[in-house]
Each structure stands twice: as structure tokens, then as C-alpha cells.
């Protein structure tokens, strides 16, 4: 870890001004990922701007009858917030499926989507990694890639995004409110993260000089029919091999609307509008769910150790949709 200077901002404007004077500085909030990366020399910022005390720490109802999650509310406080629990249980479930209680107490809503991949090679500076050091190569392609992506990969990177929360936010069509030197703007959550392409070093469409101020949840929370299914190598404190956020709007047994987002399979939470459209007007049943799973996994490609994820994802999609439709118990 290198030596660094530190500035604590109390207002958004002060944080942005500080960043303008030190463009290489990093924002830090919960620090649950950045400090890890600093310890292993993957991130070596010379200046940190602590935004933890910015007044973005409330959960409030929006005028459109949605919910605004302040960027600095902790993941734990969000998951256990009565309005989140009652109106957006899918989000609460996804948050609680991630990390550990201790980490959720520190991690923030703005920081969670910004966490970096858990690819082994990204974390080990003795190895090549295009995400860490563009142009150095991707060690996972021909290395140990059991936890890696099967969708949306490029020859430069096959890493996955590790967040559970982001998978639910993608399914829920949340919106990310950001502010920067150019003013405020809104990024729809499904467009927040990027596929690796030939710039795997850039994870999101957030500009380095912008700050997330809040995440807005739309009116529709799919509180009645939803499921977050996470498959992993141990029961807790492990990243998803495959996860599924499923939400349905049902009329009797007929699907009016469906949302499906996958975690652990791509560089971003994976969602396909045409797959969801395929379910509209259909009966909620295993056959229809299996068909949509095929659509979602179309073009999936394994890299050896992770080939199993393709079939695992298909089965997980079916199970999650069955759970969302309350056709199957949640174990």
C-alpha cells in the first residue's frame, strides 16, 4: 500500500471541487472494496476523498410514488428498511444474499454497484490482467476460470461483476442519480455497467469525476411475486456462481410482466428485454420458464472450468421463476 493523503468532504460540491483539483484521487465511502484493493496494490491512489459524511444518507419516497435510496445509506439499513422490505422485497433479499453482516454494515448503496470484479488475476499483480493493466492480457482465458463469465465476454476479459444488489436493481429498472462537473444526470440501471469489450478497465458508465447521489426505485416493486436465487460454493460469504433476480406480475396464472436479471454470468447484471417479452401473456409454468431460460442463455460460451454455469443458469432461472410464481417453496 502506498502513502496517500486524505480529505473529508461534507458537501457534494466540496467533494467535486476536491476531485477537480486532484483528478487521480479516489472517492471512498464504505471502503469495503477499495481498501482491500489498496492493500494488494491493485489500486494505488495518492489522494482519497471521503464522501461518507455527505448528506445523502436518507431513504425517502419520491413524487412518482417510488423510493429514493440515498447513496450513503448502508446496505444493511437499506435491506431492513420497512419500505424496502414491504415494497421491494426482491432488493432486500438480494442485498442480504451478499457479503456478510459486517460488510453490509459498512458498504453503501452508491459503493455496492461500483465494487470491482473478484477475478483472481485482477487481485494478483504478479499476473496479467487487462482490467488492472490494459494490454497486459487476460490470464483467466486460459487459466482457472471456474467463476468467470459465460455471456457478453470479450477476448480481453471474462470477469464477472460480483454484486448481488446490482442484479436486483437491474431487474427492478432502478435509476442511478449522479452529479458531476457537468451537472446532474440519470443513468438507467441496466445501462450503468458495461460489457468488457476492448476496455475492460472501465466497469461502468459513471464518469470518474461523477458521484452517485441516489438510486431511485420506480413505483413498481413486484412485491407480490419475486425471488432472488443465489447459487454458490458455500451457504454464506461467497460470491454467486449464478444468481437470478426474478419478478413477475401475474393475473391468475397468466404473466402480465416479467423481469429476469442474472448475476455471476457476465461483466454486468444480465438482462434481455426480448426474453421477458416472451413470457408476457403466457402461463406461468415450468415449460415456459425453460424456454425463457434458453433465450436468456443464447450465445453463452464457457471457457473450460465454467462450462457448467450455462446449464446451472438455465436451471436457476426456472427455479427462481417458479419461486416468484409461488409454485415452489423457497429452500
Amino acid at each position: 500500500m502506498n502513502s496517500f493523503t486524505y480529505f473529508r468532504a461534507h458537501e457534494v460540491a466540496a467533494a467535486l471541487t476536491e476531485k477537480a483539483t486532484a483528478p487521480q484521487a479516489k472517492f471512498i465511502a464504505g471502503g469495503t472494496n477499495l481498501t482491500d484493493l489498496m492493500k494488494v496494490n491493485v489500486e494505488q491512489p495518492h489522494h482519497l476523498i471521503d464522501i461518507r459524511r455527505l448528506p445523502l444518507n436518507k431513504i425517502e419516497e419520491t413524487e412518482e410514488n417510488g423510493l429514493r435510496l440515498g447513496a450513503l445509506v448502508t446496505n444493511a439499513d437499506t435491506a431492513y428498511h420497512p419500505l424496502v422490505e414491504s415494497r421491494y422485497p426482491l432488493l432486500a433479499k438480494a442485498i442480504l444474499a451478499g457479503a456478510s453482516a459486517q460488510l453490509r454494515n459498512m458498504a453503501t448503496n452508491g459503493g455496492n454497484p461500483l465494487q470491482r470484479t473478484r477475478c483472481y488475476y485482477f487481485y494478483d499483480t504478479a499476473t496479467a490482467c487487462n482490467k488492472r493493466e490494459p494490454g497486459s492480457g487476460c490470464s483467466a482465458l486460459n487459466g482457472y476460470n471456474r467463476i468467470h463469465a459465460i455471456l457478453g465476454t470479450s477476448e480481453h476479459c471474462i470477469a464477472v461483476h460480483p454484486s448481488d444488489m446490482a442484479v436486483a436493481l437491474t431487474a427492478l429498472d432502478a435509476k442511478v442519480n449522479v452529479t458531476g462537473p457537468q451537472g446532474e444526470r440519470v443513468i438507467p440501471f441496466p445501462e450503468f455497467h458495461r460489457l468488457p469489450g476492448d476496455t475492460p478497465n472501465i466497469d461502468t458508465n459513471l464518469s470518474p469525476d461523477e458521484i452517485i447521489t441516489a438510486i431511485d426505485l420506480p413505483t413498481k416493486g413486484f412485491a407480490e411475486n419475486n425471488a432472488y436465487l443465489k447459487l454458490r460454493d458455500r451457504t454464506s460469504y461467497a460470491f454467486a456462481l449464478v444468481s437470478v433476480a426474478a419478478a413477475l406480475e401475474l393475473e391468475g396464472n397468466i404473466i402480465k410482466e416479467a423481469r429476469i436479471a442474472l448475476g455471476g454470468v457476465a461483466h454486468k447484471p444480465w438482462r434481455k428485454p426480448e426474453a421477458e417479452a416472451q413470457l408476457v401473456g403466457k402461463e406461468a409454468n415450468p415449460e415456459n420458464f425453460a424456454q425463457v431460460a434458453e433465450t436468456l442463455l443464447a450465445g453463452a460460451q464457457g471457457f473450460g472450468h465454467n462450462n457448467f454455469k450455462i446449464e446451472l443458469a438455465k436451471r436457476a432461472i426456472v427455479r427462481a421463476l417458479l419461486q416468484a410464481a409461488k409454485m415452489e417453496e423457497i429452500s
Partner: protein, 742 residues
């Protein structure tokens, strides 16, 4: 003595060091302060094999606060012969010498030590050291290399010795089973990182706080390598945050910290990172070939067990991998082999139940598979082949209550409810499986010394240079001493982990209770003798006329006349009358010769229930019953904790643990606790431990067998067998992750 208040052996007692541990009062190797302390940070090799062609330390040295960067180019001249570097647990070969030369022998090899006057600067400077390598092709797998396997010149424990004629036995067999079982390398991963704080006194002597399972081993290593006298080096290690075998050999942070302290004439602390915890000894990956032959009734006619294990290029590490297959069951024809395959990695190292947990995993899975072929209950098959004689040595067992383990374990678990058909028990999409396996572990007593000192205030101090790596040594030694002299627990303190104390063996092999416990008991009996000598001189008073120890009882803080319990004296009273300020006794105990006529083992029977999701292959271990025959149990509370820890680790071995070797880099790549998985609380459900009654007056005067390893042995096989029973799919390569079941 059962009605006295000072009868502690066999009764649950909370850890005497518990309060110190939870309040932070207990200090670990990296926590001892020293004036002017400096900090060393290790730079590790990025490649697995090759040569360092250049080390550029200029940037590191230019940082304010950096005192020195030690490399092979500027290290001091040190001991020359291999022998000087061979610690008590060193396998045959050429021990690794840190900073010896430009050769890289394994990935993450320490190649530089940056020392600065604060930790942060040292750590940053370490990242600035630039190394240029000339790499050579490396080999870091044993798969597909069995043809290269060789027989080591020397085995750590007994050589694999065949008996009968396995070929003939197989020809006679009506049913045979043949399969290959394997598991990956695993790392110990104790919570506490390896650390050494070397404090240099003005007179040049060293006080070394080291994370170790044997302070004397560290002391010997330092004195030999650096040419120091024992009087110049005191090693202290009062608390160890888990070790599991990783502290059986001095690790390189000790070498580097001592070297830097001597060179810089400063006190130095070196703490390894979690990633560097994957840079030294580990459980070796093995591939094991098993062939079992039996009659149609299930009587074994032949057992063939050939094990292939990794070792380094520089040492031949062996463990007792296959001999279990010669002792556990009745069979006249046994063929064994244990061969090594070299890799460009560090030498493997004992890790909890070394060899036993892996060799018995293979044997016990093979027995399960044979049972299915025979259409016989796996428990029945084991009873059919039960033996009261260790046929590998033709010795009787000193005690063997394994049958009671089977019976009590099966009853508690409800084994009778098992439908023998695989994939026959389910609830919806959840498949249910029952599995069992047998465990065994060697019982050993080592030469040990202890000293006991009784003060006039009735306080007893007992000391021995053993360790407590979390096992409960402090507590059981206190219990043994208190009961032997009939003193309240609160009057007794036990001190360990200091080379100034009487000699003790490394803490390992499950032998501390038997070895140091016997010495502690004998030292306290020495005090009894000395008190008796004074009592004999008494002309009057309640104990006048007593001539022999048998006439009195040490209990309730008193010496009581057996023939008239109303007649008694306090221990300090005897001392006062004798004019003694202190009574002390130092005793060394050794195993009795008659032990040689017996085979001495602890045993277990492990019963497991798993639930497997039919679609996903996710496994939950919902119930474990582990029935243990471990001799006399000194403290059922700490003993149960030992076994629970073993069961949990067995679950990790079966389902989660794997040090993943990236082959292109020749490097363990999942080198942190986020990606090297061990069980978490949510993985643990209903665990039950049964200690069956087992009397044994052969093993040692206390009748204890030791419990450090037996809890893990058998667990992984029982889980693998339960997974097969649940799913009908046999996975013979650990860990059983969901992808292997899909």
C-alpha cells in the same frame, strides 16, 4: 476420589485462558512491543521457477524511513550445511534457505525483506522493489505424471509394508472394487498470520516472540543457522491463533526477522500477509489407487492401496498415507505403496491428521463402494471385517472401542432408517443421503518434562515448554495438576511456550495431553513424595505415623488420612512445620517399554446426513454424529470443541477447500479467505459428539489418547458416501462442488 471437590479430570471446565483471549489480554507473536521496533515486509517471487537476473532496490531504499532491503546479494554469510537448517519436523532433503541465492524454487518464494522504522513505509517500499527474472518451465501438477513417481529413501512414519499375497487375494475374490480417489492441495489458514517479533537486548541477546508449535524447535533453528548459543536466544510463544501443523516448522519470517535484527542491530517484526500464508507448507495433493477384493459375504480377501503425493524439488515429504489400510480391517493380503512426485512448489507440511484424513478418505470411500457392490449395509461390512489385532504389526490394540462407536453412533443417528437404495430418499427436489465412515489416529507419547512449584500460600505453579495452539492445553494441564495435588483449580497456574521452561515436544500428532500431561502428573506426584517425606518426620498431629503415599489422599486442598478422613492437614501446614519455603519437583516422563507390545490408536465412527438439491447439486450437511473412542477424556468441554472443529474442517475438506494451482503461473491463485473457502456458520447445522467409554492403562499413566486429529478423520469420507447415497453419483475427487454433481 469421586466425592471430593478437587476431582477435575473427566469433568467439563471452561478454558482457564478464555478471559485473557476474549479481552485481548493474551498477546500473540506480532503484538509484543519493543523499544525502537522496526518492521520487515517480505517481497515474494512472481514466478514459480527460474533465476533472478536483477533486483532494483533503489526506489525502495530512497524512501525516508527505509533502513535496508535484504536480498540474496547482501545477506550475511550463514551456516553452510543442510543439517543446520533441519528443524525437528524437517523431511529428508535440503531445507529451503531464504535469500540463499538467485534461484527461484517456487512461486511466492521470499526474495527480499524490506525493513523500515514503520510498517506502512516498509509495505510501500516492498511494492517498489523491482525484480527481473529469467523464467524456466515449471511443473506444478501431479496429474498425468504418475509414471514419474518414485519411492522415497526414507518415510516419516512406518514404511508401507505388504503382507500376504494381494494378487492371490484378488484372484480369490468374488467381488472386487477398483477406483482412483484424489484431492487437491490445501492450506492450513490459521486465523493468526505467521509472525515473529525479535527483540534485541543491549547485550546482544535475542528474545523472539514467534508463532510456533514448539519454542525449542524455533530456538534450535535460530542457534544453528545463525551460530548463536542457546543462552543468547529465548523464544516465547504463550498464545497461538491456530496453527494446525503450520507451526511445526520454523517459517521463513522467523529467519528473516532474526537475520535483520542481527544485521541492523535493531528489534524487528515480520508478519506475513494472508497471501503469503499460501507460500509455504500445505497438505499435499494426492491421487490414490484402491483395489478391494472380498468374498460374496463381504470378508476382505485383498486390499491394495497405492498413494501418489506431491513433494517439492528439495525435500521428500511423506506422511502416513496408506498404512491405515493394513491396520483398520481384517485382511490377510495387503499391498501398499506410497510414492512421491516432485513439483516446483514448496515442500508439503503436516496439516491436521496428515495422511490419515486423506488416506482413510480413500479407503473409507472404497469400502462404501464395495458395500454397494455386495448389496450389504456399509456398517455391516465394517463389522464383518472388524479386527481386535493390528495385523500390520501382529499386535493387540491397547484398547479399541470402535464397535461401541459404531453402535452408539448408529443409534443416535438413526442409521436403521436408511433406505439402502441410492437416490431413494427425498423430499420434493431435495435428495437425502446417509453416509458413514471410520476414523483412526495414532496414539503417541513423547518424552516430556514439567516442573511443579508449591508455595507456602498453597499456590501451585506448573511449567513446561509446550504450546497451546487453541487445543486447551492450558486448561487440561491445570486440571491434571490440581487433581493430582488435590488443590482448587484457582490455586494452580500453568505456564508454557517459553524456552526457559522444561523441555517438551512439538505440539502435534495429538500427543500433548498424553506426553505433557504425563509429565505434569509426575511432577505433581514428585511434590506429593516430598510432602510425604516431611509428613514422615511429624511426631504429632493428624498425620503423624503416616509412612506411605497410599495412606493419604490429596483432595479438597488437604492431605487426608484415608483410614480416618477426619484427620487431615493443609499442604502449607506441612511446609511450615518442615520449614520449607517452596517445594518443587522437575520430572521427565517417557513412554513405558511395554507400549511396544501394543498398537495404540484412537478410533471414530462418523455418521452424516446430507441434503442435495437435485437440480443444482448444492449440498447441505444437516446432521453429523461423531462417536469417538479416544481413551480417557480429561475435559469433556474442550474435548467436544476439539471434535467439533475437526468435523467442521472435515466438511470443508469434503465440500469446499482447494488451493487452486494456476498451471500457467504455477501459483496458488485463490490465495485469500474470500476465495479459499472454509465452512461458514451458515454451513453448520446439527453436530453431535459422543465419547464412548474406553479404558486404557497401556497408552500412558493418564489413559488419554489425544483428540487433536481424530475429529477430522473420517468426516470427509462419510460426507462423500452420503452424497453418493443421496444422488447415486460417486464423486472421487474432492472437494465435491456443485459442478461435479451436475
Amino acid at each position: 476420589m469421586s466425592n471430593t471437590t478437587t476431582n477435575y479430570i473427566g469433568k467439563p471446565a471452561s478454558r482457564v485462558d478464555g478471559r485473557a483471549k476474549v479481552t485481548g489480554e493474551a498477546k500473540y507473536a506480532a503484538e509484543f512491543p519493543a523499544p525502537g521496533l522496526t518492521y520487515g515486509v517480505v517481497v515474494s517471487s512472481a514466478v514459480a521457477k527460474g533465476t533472478i537476473t536483477k533486483i532494483d532496490t533503489a526506489a525502495a531504499l530512497s524512501l525516508p524511513g527505509v533502513l535496508q532491503v535484504f536480498t540474496h546479494q547482501n545477506r550475511p554469510g550463514l551456516a553452510w550445511f543442510d543439517k543446520k537448517y533441519q528443524d525437528e519436523d524437517a523431511p529428508p532433503g535440503t531445507p529451503f534457505r531464504p535469500l540463499y541465492d538467485e534461484k527461484i524454487l517456487f512461486s511466492q518464494q521470499p526474495i527480499a525483506l524490506v525493513v523500515a522504522d514503520n510498517f506502512e513505509v516498509a509495505r510501500y517500499a516492498a511494492s517498489l522493489v523491482e525484480i527481473t527474472y529469467e523464467t524456466e518451465p515449471h511443473i506444478t501438477s501431479i496429474k498425468n505424471r504418475l509414471h514419474e513417481a518414485y519411492t522415497p529413501k526414507e518415510y516419516k512414519s512406518a514404511e508401507p509394508s505388504p503382507r500376504g499375497d494381494a494378487e492371490k487375494g484378488l484372484a480369490q475374490a468374488e467381488i472386487t472394487h477398483e477406483a482412483e480417489y484424489s484431492h487437491p492441495s490445501e492450506h492450513h489458514n490459521p486465523m493468526e498470520m505467521h509472525a515473529s517479533t525479535v527483540v534485541l537486548a543491549e547485550d546482544g541477546t535475542l528474545t523472539v516472540y514467534d508463532k510456533t508449535q514448539g519454542v525449542q524447535n524455533s530456538q534450535n533453528y535460530i542457534t544453528q543457522v545463525f551460530g548463536l548459543a542457546k543462552e543468547q536466544v529465548q523464544v516465547i510463544s504463550p498464545f497461538v491463533g491456530g496453527a494446525f501443523g503450520s507451526g511445526l516448522r520454523p517459517q521463513y519470517q522467523l529467519f528473516l526477522a532474526v537475520m535483520a535484527a542481527l544485521e541492523l542491530k535493531r528489534s524487528v517484526r515480520v508478519v506475513l500477509t494472508r497471501q503469503q500464508m499460501f507460500s509455504f507448507g500445505h497438505r499435499p495433493a494426492t491421487i490414490q489407487h484402491l483395489v478391494l477384493g472380498s468374498t460374496s459375504q463381504g470378508a476382505l480377501t485383498a486390499v491394495v492401496h497405492e498413494g501418489f503425493a506431491e513433494t517439492s524439488r528439495f525435500e521428500d515429504y511423506t506422511e502416513n498415507l496408506v498404512n491405515w489400510s493394513a491396520m483398520l480391517y481384517k485382511c490377510d493380503n495387503v499391498q501398499l505403496a506410497h510414492k512421491l512426485i516432485q513439483m516446483d512448489a514448496y515442500t508439503p507440511l503436516d496439516m491436521r491428521a496428515p495422511g490419515g484424513v486423506t488416506g482413510l478418505y480413500a479407503l473409507e470411500c472404497a469400502m462404501d463402494e464395495l458395500a454397494y457392490k455386495l448389496d450389504k449395509d456399509p456398517l455391516e461390512l465394517r463389522l464383518t471385517n472388524y479386527t481386535n489385532i493390528d495385523l500390520s504389526k501382529d499386535n493387540p490394540f491397547s484398547s479399541k472401542e470402535l464397535k461401541a462407536c459404531y453402535q452408539q453412533g448408529a443409534e443416535k443417528f438413526g442409521w436403521a432408517k436408511r433406505n439402502p437404495q441410492p437416490r431413494s430418499m427425498r423430499e420434493g427436489k431435495t435428495l437425502i443421503g446417509y453416509g458413514l465412515a471410520t476414523g483412526a489416529w495414532e496414539v503417541n507419547q513423547q518424552k516430556s518434562s514439567a516442573k511443579a512449584v508449591l508455595s507456602p500460600d498453597g499456590q501451585l505453579k506448573v511449567t513446561s515448554a509446550t504450546a497451546d495452539i487453541g487445543t486447551g492445553t492450558y486448561t487440561i494441564m491445570t486440571q491434571i495438576a490440581a487433581e493430582t495435588l488435590g488443590l482448587p483449580l484457582a490455586n494452580v497456574t500453568f505456564k508454557l511456550g517459553d524456552t526457559a521452561l522444561p523441555q517438551a515436544p512439538l505440539q502435534g500428532g495429538s500427543w500433548t495431553a498424553a506426553s505433557v500431561g504425563s509429565a505434569v502428573k509426575a511432577a505433581c506426584e514428585g511434590i506429593q513424595e516430598k510432602l510425604l517425606a516431611h509428613i514422615r518426620n511429624l511426631k504429632e498431629g493428624p498425620l503423624a505415623g503416616v509412612q506411605k503415599l497410599e495412606e493419604v489422599l490429596f483432595a479438597d486442598g488437604k492431605i487426608i488420612l484415608k483410614s480416618n478422613p477426619a484427620q487431615h492437614m493443609l499442604l502449607p501446614e506441612v511446609m511450615r512445620l518442615a520449614g520449607e519455603n517452596f517445594i518443587e519437583a522437575t520430572v521427565t516422563t517417557k513412554p513405558e517399554l511395554r507400549q511396544k507390545k501394543y498398537s495404540m490408536f484412537s478410533h471414530s465412527a462418523v455418521f452424516v446426513e446430507v441434503l442435495v438439491d437435485e437440480d443444482f447439486g448444492t449440498i447441505r450437511v444437516t446432521r453429523v454424529v461423531s462417536a469417538i473412542a479416544g481413551g480417557r477424556i480429561i475435559n469433556p468441554k474442550t474435548a467436544r470443541s476439539q471434535i467439533l472443529g475437526g468435523i467442521v474442517w472435515g466438511m470443508g475438506m469434503a465440500l469446499e477447500e482447494e488451493s487452486v494451482m494456476d498451471q500457467p503461473y504455477g501459483r496458488f491463485i485463490n490465495h485469500d479467505l474470500a476465495e479459499y473457502h472454509v465452512p461458514v456458520n451458515a454451513d453448520i447445522h446439527d453436530l453431535e459428539v459422543i465419547f464412548v467409554e474406553e479404558d486404557d492403562d497401556i497408552v500412558n499413566p493418564l489413559g488419554v489418547k489425544g483428540l487433536g486429529e481424530i475429529g477430522i478423520v473420517g468426516t470427509a469420507a462419510a460426507i462423500a458416501n452420503a452424497v453418493y447415497h443421496a444422488t447415486g453419483k460417486r464423486v472421487r475427487d474432492l472437494p465435491i462442488t456443485l459442478d461435479k454433481l451436475m
